[in-house]
């Protein structure tokens, strides 16, 4: 285990879920923006709380662990840690019992640089950052799949649904496929160099609302189009075929419904593609929009189009030009 009371620093990347055609299954991490966190552990005594959360930022997020996404994720991790510690059968996968601590406490400082509600995995970054940090402090006893499982408790708190399409790329880095959620199966997908332009128009779209407007049934013929594109996107990423990636970035099921919540969506998408973007769409449940490009020059030209459109509409916004983050959550001691 990491020495007690010593702080580690954590960098948890923003993530883009769905990747247009891969609703609930695909996602990727980006190098900017990211959350900064600090964590340390100590033995827990008597009935004191197992988690203390300190917000460094000004978002006034709840510090009660059960109401905070990082807290919810950590509570799941602590529960399983203590179960394992108190169960001799699983001792082989842990530090020897002499070294281990049967009741543990974490202190977490969170500096959210990813604005909550922006649609680029702000809650996932907190949840994933917290469990990756905790695992580091505990001597990396849990697998990445375990960590995703814990962190999904944060997503459930944030959106009402246990989904992993932000958590998985945040923890694994790169592009990830959640082939199945129960049982959990995450597959890392190789990808060629891609530049990512993100615009966050400063409007609020609640994940739960964006989910509730979706139709529960879809036409079989639309589903077939969608899975053709998903198969094309996976093949394009694995073959480093940029044109195929671009052609596959089409969503005939979710985007037509959700895009009505985002001002200027169709015009913005068209302008970005005319500026050379391979394609893109709503990031997660929005309101952020992302575009993928082959070169930095195109990604910057795309950013210019985004700014121009939202400036023209008088809509405050924030943009990022970045690349796919291959590392996932990173720890600096």
């Amino acid at each position: 285990m990491f020495p007690q009371n010593q702080w580690i620093k954590i960098k948890a990347p923003a993530t883009v879920a769905n990747m247009v055609c891969g609703f609930d299954i695909l996602g990727f991490a980006v190098n900017n923006p990211y959350d900064e966190m600090e964590m340390r552990w100590m033995p827990r005594v008597n009935n004191e709380p197992s988690i203390t959360i300190i917000n460094i930022d000004d978002y006034n997020l709840p510090t009660d662990p059960e109401k905070n996404v990082a807290g919810a994720a950590l509570l799941a991790l602590i529960e399983e840690y203590e179960e394992r510690i108190n169960n001799n059968n699983t001792a082989h996968s842990l530090e020897t019992k002499q070294q281990s601590v049967s009741a543990i406490k974490f202190e977490v400082k969170i500096n959210k640089l990813i604005k909550p509600g922006s649609g680029v995995g702000s809650s996932a970054a907190s949840s994933a950052g917290a469990v990756v940090g905790a695992n580091h402090l505990l001597g990396n006893i849990f697998s990445k799949d375990d960590l995703v499982r814990f962190a999904m408790n944060g997503e459930k708190l944030a959106s009402g649904v246990k989904h992993a399409d932000n958590i998985a790329p945040c923890i694994f880095g790169g592009v990830t496929l959640v082939r199945s959620i129960f049982p959990l199966e995450i597959i890392a997908l190789p990808s060629p160099q891609l530049y990512v332009t993100i615009v966050h128009p400063q409007i609020e779209v609640r994940t739960a609302d964006a989910r509730s407007i979706l139709r529960q049934q879809v036409l079989l013929k639309d589903a077939i189009k969608q899975w053709g594109n998903i198969a094309g996107l996976v093949a394009g990423l694995m073959k480093s075929d940029y044109e195929l990636i671009g052609r596959s970035l089409e969503d005939v099921i979710i985007e037509p419904v959700r895009s009505i919540l985002i001002p200027g969506f169709d015009a913005l998408k068209l302008a970005c593609k005319q500026a050379g973007a391979l394609g893109g769409g709503i990031s997660g449940s929005g309101p952020s929009i992302f575009m993928l490009s082959k070169t930095k020059e195109i990604a910057v030209a795309v950013e210019k189009e985004m700014k121009q459109l939202y400036d023209g509409m008088g809509l405050p916004h924030h943009t990022y030009v970045t690349t796919i983050n291959q590392a996932g959550v990173e720890i600096a001691a």
Copy 2:
């Protein structure tokens, strides 16, 4: 162009469409069974018919080109050939005009070794074999995508729908993805060595019937499971990850509906997987069932299970143990 009046021999492989989770988009060719064909060309004079079909087998399929799938495919090819020949603008993509013939006629002998209605692309083999043969005779002036387009006219005649999930692997070989049908886009997917066991229970399932029982709407949550599996299957094939291929061979949308048309389907699938098959399901619209295995030994053990089950039911059947065909339709002069 190939010398006129000289026969060429054609070998057109059977194909397995859908590949369980990839309804209407995935398919692969197998080395056994296959159709044998012979073809030759000659200039067409006056109003004589452009296609003569001679059946070598005993299936009594129609010889009227408009009612024969190979004929329907060839009619589309001839129409486009003659349009191109009579249009100077496209002369660059053809033989020089001196050498070319403005009205053409084909004679086709068909020996169907793939039983019609068996669900392993019997009609696709005839259509694809005919157009690949014709293209060879014409000096390979058409692309594979063109040939798929022509051959789909045969599928339309056979099933009422222009679908390419048998035609594409028959022409390209290997595993193919039809990302989009309008416009047509076919992507060859690499695959590891896979053994294929096929059983054809001798019952009749008409493609049009198998299509008509499908529901036009599917639950979004089922569609999400399905596209997770499709993405997993494509990734598994491209990573040569046999276990991932196996886990991804699940169909929550089509198989539960169609499998009721196939006696003993669930028991057979279970027995095959217990014998070591990675997975499998209905081939195309059935009634054939296919299973993929990692080794020949397992594929043979799977065949034994299939035989045992259908022997026990007193249901006549035919089995094949084969491999994925990487060549597609082959020509021997």
